[in-house]
Each structure stands twice: as C-alpha cells, then as structure tokens.
Symmetry: C2
Subunit: 349 residues, 2 copies
C-alpha cells in the first residue's frame, strides 16, 4: 500500500481535525462540464470511455488542479461503474441520464449479481488512481469514492434516475428480505471496491449518498443505515479518512452521521454551525455553499456567502470547505478560482 500523504496536506489534516494554516477546499464535481478543457475531451469520448481509459480519467481528474489551488483531487469516475462491474448493463441516454438493465427486482436477479475482485473488474479505476498519484503535486490529496448502497441500489431497482423511488420504497417495505439481500451484496462489493481504491493510492474516500434525503428518518434507520455503516466501517479500517455525504437529509442529519465517517458532509440548506452540532463536534464537517450561488448572481454575493460559511465554522479545526452539492455545468471557471483563493485567504491562520 502506498504511503498515506504527508501531514503537510491541509485537506488530510482537516479530515483528522488537526490544525491547518488555512481551511482546505475542494468541490464536488470539480472535474466536469463547466471546464472547457473537460468538454474538449468529452466531445470525443463517452462518459464510460473516459472512465475506462486511465489516462483520460487521470487527465480530467487533474484538470481543475491546474487552474485552481484546490487542496484535493477527486477521482473521475461514476457511481454506476460498480453495478456495471457486478453484471448490469449501463448506458447514458441523452436527456434522460443513466439506464441500468436489467432492473434488480427479484431474488434471482440479485443472486446473479457478481462479486468479482474489483482490482480486476474495475482495474481501470485503480490504474487511473496510480496515474493521478504520480502526477499530483505534494500537499494535494487524492479522494477516491463510491456511491452509498442506498443511492446505487435505487438506480439498480428503478433502472435509472427516479422522481419518487416508488419501486425502491415498495421493495424496502414489501420485500424487506430481498431489499436486505441486495443491500448486503452491494455494501460488500462497495467496501471491496473502496478498499481496492485505497490500496491503489486513494488517500481519502467519499461515500456519496446523494438521494438519501428522499427517505424518512425511520426508513433510513431501518433499511439503509446498517448497510452504509458496514461500508464506512470497512473503509475506516484501511486508515484513510472517510467522508460521508448526503443531501436533503437535514431532517435526520444526526442519524446519518451516526452511521460513521471521519467527516460528514452538509448540504447548503442548513447553517454549517447547526449542522456541525447535529453531526457532533468530535467529527469533521464538509460544506456547505449553495452551488447555485457559485453558478450565478454577483461574485460579491457568492464570496459573502462563502465568508458566512467560514464564520459559521468559526475557525475550528475540522472544517473542509466545499459546496453543498456538485458544481453545476453553467458555472463560470473564473468564479471557482475566486472562491478557492478567497477561502484560503480569508481563513489564513
């Protein structure tokens, strides 16, 4: 296993709630369509082709760090590469988003899901990680990631994005054994996938539970949390810091945090200090500027909102600046630069 990054990494120190010279910042979906150099590559390759090509994946992962003084890179990949490696067919339909077939709705379908060694089936991800680590400058950390079991399972059960998670919720309540079988298998595969990412060189891991906020607190507790916890615990054992991220979950943020993670993400709806209280002061927090403010409106207002986030963090150890969700495609790159520089300058100890 490659060595964990030197303690000079602001990002890794903040994950551990150690003192830092300035608040670290990275942005979800910082490698993406808002960058012309990303779009140039994306024009010639599908999303899956980009992921499967370690050189391209490494290139787009590093692109935002060439422009901006971000403290961490996040691996370019897709959360649905894992169900694909488990035997589902994945395609991206224009204007509709991902489509996964066949949908996982029977015990037979779940039993058929493969759990091959991710170092083989997702070897291209590990290759990309190794390439990125070689290119990253000292002090810049690489974050690996996967989708959390609920978010990935919802795509697998619905067959694609969903407004209401009707089939998923019906399965939870109507066929709890089938749901449990799917989530158990998925949690195991996700853990193996993330441990392999750490072995390949990822210095931190983020678990994305992007749609967990569609659940009630009690459904989360009963049908999701044990499986998320399994993954978070498995990754924690590798020794790298783990970030647990969800959106729309302010109604059960304390419960969400209790599943684990060294760092818990907060979306933009809840004031950061109130989120931190719910998460617990003994944990690090990541967040939580509204991504819309980064995309539109006056730069001055965006920086004022970023300042308010820093003020709510109160200079305490254990704050990683981020958005409350991903960078939007229409975001002007120069605003990202303004934000990154501002966060470092304004938080300089």
């Amino acid at each position: 296993m490659p060595s964990i990054a030197a303690p000079t990494s602001r990002f890794l120190r903040a994950c551990r709630r150690q003192a830092v010279d300035a608040t670290p910042i990275w942005l979800m979906r910082q490698a993406g369509r808002y960058l012309p150099e990303y779009r140039k590559i994306r024009e010639k390759a599908t999303l899956i082709q980009m992921c499967e090509n370690p050189a391209l994946a490494a290139e787009v992962t590093i692109q935002p760090l060439r422009r901006f003084d971000l403290d961490a890179a996040i691996l370019f990949a897709d959360i649905l590469l894992l169900p694909r490696a488990m035997g589902l067919h994945l395609e991206f339909v224009k204007g509709e988003g991902p489509r996964l077939t066949p949908p996982m709705r029977t015990a037979k379908a779940v039993a058929r899901l493969r759990e091959d060694d991710p170092r083989q089936t997702l070897g291209y991800v590990m290759d990309a990680i190794r390439l990125i680590r070689r290119e990253l400058k000292p002090g810049k950390a690489l974050i690996g990631f996967a989708g959390a079991p609920f978010t990935v399972a919802s795509y697998m059960v619905e067959g694609g994005p969903s407004d209401h998670y009707l089939v998923t919720k019906a399965m939870m309540h109507g066929e709890p054994q089938l749901w449990k079988a799917l989530m158990t298998k998925l949690a195991r595969a996700t853990s193996a996938y993330l441990v392999a990412q750490v072995e390949a060189g990822a210095q931190a891991i983020q678990l994305f539970d992007s749609w967990v906020g569609e659940l009630s607190a009690s459904d989360y507790e009963r049908f999701v949390k044990p499986h998320s916890k399994q993954v978070l615990d498995a990754v924690s054992k590798t020794g790298v810091p783990v970030i647990s991220f969800g959106t729309g979950n302010s109604g059960f943020l304390g419960r969400f945090a209790s599943a684990g993670g060294d760092v818990v993400g907060a979306d933009w709806r809840i004031p950061l200090d109130e989120a931190w209280k719910l998460i617990g002061r003994d944990r690090a927090i990541q967040g939580n500027l509204d991504p819309i403010l980064l995309a539109s409106g006056p730069t001055k207002a965006m920086l004022a909102a970023a300042k308010a986030v820093l003020e709510r963090a109160g200079g305490r150890n254990g704050h990683i600046f981020n958005l409350g969700h991903g960078v939007l495609p229409m975001t002007p790159p120069e605003r990202v630069k303004a934000l990154v520089d501002f966060v470092h300058d304004a938080s300089r100890r």
Copy 2:
C-alpha cells in the same frame, strides 16, 4: 362574512389545539388524478377550464369527501391562477408543466403587474368556494389556499418549473431591490386573494411554499421570510386558522415556523415529534406520512408508518394528519380509504 364553522369540526378544533374526539385528516392533492371520477372530468376540460368553472371546481373539490371520511376539503385551484390574474399568460405544456410568460426579470415587468380586486379577477374561485360551502356536510371544513410568495415568484421569474432556481437566486442576490419589489407586490396580492377567499367562505387557509426547501436558511431569512410573514399575518387577522407548509426545509424549520401560521406543516423526512419541537409546542402541526408509502408497497406497511406518525404526535392536541407532500397520481383510492379510516380509529380518544 359567513360564520366560522361550528366547533364540531375536528379539523378546525385541531388547528386551534383544542381537544378532539379523533385526529383529523385531510391530504394534500386529495382532489386529483388518482381518482377516476376526477380523470373523467379532466378528460373533457383543461386544468384552467376546470378552475374557471365554479361548478366543476366545486365538484372535484368534493369528490374525495364522497369516497373518504376526510375532515376537510381543499379548494380545487392552482397556485398560478394569481400571477395569471396579475397579467401573466399561463399555459400547461404537456410533459413540461406550467409556463408563465413573460418571465418577471425587469423592474418594468414587475411594475406592470396588476393588482386588481381578486373578487373580480378571481371571482370564479370565490364562486367555487360559495358552492362548496353549500354542499359540504356539517363538520367538514373548507380550506382555501395560495402559493407562498417565494414559490410563486420562482415560477414567475424562471417562467416555469426549475431544477435549480438559477435566475431566481441570481435576482435575490444580484438585484435585491427588484426581488423585493416583486415579492412585496406578490405578498400584497396574495394577502388580498386569501382574505377574499375567507370572505367567500374558506374556513382555513393553507399557504404552500412547496419549493422553499431549495433555499439556504440565510437566503430564506433574508429574501423570503418577511414576505411570507406579511401574508400569514394578513390572513391571521381574518380570524381563520392558517397553515404554513413547505417541504425540504428541515434544515431551517424553526425559522420557517417563525414566519407565522397557527399550524405548520412538516414533510415526511423528519420525525413528527422532532419537527414539532422545532416548530414549537405552542403551535399545531400537520403531517407527515411519506406520500410514496401511500402510493406503493404493502398496505400493512403504510398503516404501520401511519401508526408511527400518530405515536410521535403522542395524542397531543394540535395534530392534523396529512402526508408530507401531495397524493401521487398512481395512488390506489382504496389505500386512501384505508388510511383515513385507520387514522380516525387508531386515534379515537
């Protein structure tokens, strides 16, 4: 002004946190596409035609009360009838939802918004209210409603539904005077519209701020709350109870409640007792079953979840049972009956 309903109305008593013989229940969007008798009328008339025809509006308002022992009817109308009465063109585009033109993005456009007497411009709504009141059985209350200024303004600014409220948020931060002018005018018009509904016979009012959960707590405080408060205060003066409803706002539910309302709605994400604590025990609460559980999965699981909501309410005065959002079109009517009967039976004092 017609007399306020007799104290035999469970619903109205609960709004006032008075003792009731059983927990009252009504459901957002209870008059809607999940009912075959609604679809039959809808086949022959557009949504706007249905709203403009008091007999049809009254008919679909009352339909669910013929089938189910609901404690209140909610006026059949659309939140965008008000901006239409203010001079915007409204149409519903199949598969896209409402379209409002021209979008409100300049001081000139906002200045042009008309504030005619809603008893004239929306006289058909008042006529429908009078018809419904005549037909409603004793003990059944009629709820009037409007969209809250933020939710309606977001449609007016964006020109229709929006994923990200990019233009709306840019206007808040970039042209706060223009935003304020729009919200001030809208709050005044909404207040007049709701007061006219009460004069026509509405016995309670719900203010729907369906998309308020897209905001950060601080944007809500600064750009929205004063205007919501203005409307809630104006309606409160009429003497009928006012329900303030939002979704996705668990991250700032206390702030949302502080804008006013005798009753505050909670969406399904947050446990009812925790929401009540944030809202304040001196207020009534409405909610909060996940509408997806009503639409799908085993009836037994749906009823178990309804029981859990009642348990979290703890038999305290001031709980109105509802969903955390509207009834979905695929909901089987027999499940609605099962829910309504269960809530009454299980909560019988």
